[in-house]
Subunit: 139 residues, 2 copies
């Protein structure tokens, strides 16, 4: 039982640690890798594991709570928000909206944009970001 590591942070990357933490958790929550109600490591725990300050982890949790993905209670820890799973649809809509907006600004028609997305799906992915290394601690 290795009290597995929770999230990985690469300090050499230009994107700041608190963003790395935030995005990794956001991905997991959105994809269902972390079910609603699942308890996350405490701020101190995760900070210690990653060798960071409490405030750094706290900031990540905070922004995720503001985004509705997490729920925190002092003394009670931090958990994945109840409807967080249901947020997937919202996340999809949001991305689609942004994509559509960009396409419109480029003067691209809906048909053209749809064709491009369709093709992108068929091509499969070339640049694969390293996915998260989270292990859920259940209790």
């Amino acid at each position: 039982m290795s009290g597995d590591p929770i999230i990985t942070v690469d300090p050499s990357q230009p994107v700041p640690p608190y963003v790395q933490i935030r995005d990794q958790i956001a991905d997991l929550v959105s994809t269902g890798g972390l079910a609603a109600g699942t308890r996350l490591p405490t701020v101190r725990q995760l900070a210690a594991d990653l060798g960071l300050a409490n405030g750094t982890v706290a900031r990540a949790y905070q922004e995720l709570e503001a985004a509705g993905q997490l729920e925190t209670r002092r003394g009670g820890g931090t958990r994945v928000a109840p409807q967080a799973g249901g947020r997937r649809a919202a996340v999809v809509r949001e991305h689609a909206h942004e994509f559509a907006t960009t396409m419109r600004r480029l003067g691209v028609t809906a048909a053209e944009a749809l064709a491009a997305v369709d093709q992108a799906f068929e091509l499969g992915d070339s640049d694969r970001k390293d996915l998260t290394v989270i292990s859920v601690q259940s209790e």
Copy 2:
């Protein structure tokens, strides 16, 4: 001729001036608002118009050249790259690819994603959240 207001910069915005300039030009080039071969204002000219330092405008031009959108020659000015117009397709593909990758990571099927994009187009522009940041540049 042409005292055309090509570019505007709003210092109050959080995004730095050189990025504002870069993105505006990138948009114009992508959409064909600036045809291939079109000569842009000189670094000094644009800097003076905007009340900025030469280096600020130069940086924007530089990054655009690195991205293949512009071509510069010392003493010869800066022009829209010959195949820049043809880049629109590349830009579209790039965005579509990024969108598709995100969708896949969310476990969204192609059909579902296409439906979302289609709907986003029908809805038109409403409010713009800034949760996700999609940047245009490659490389």
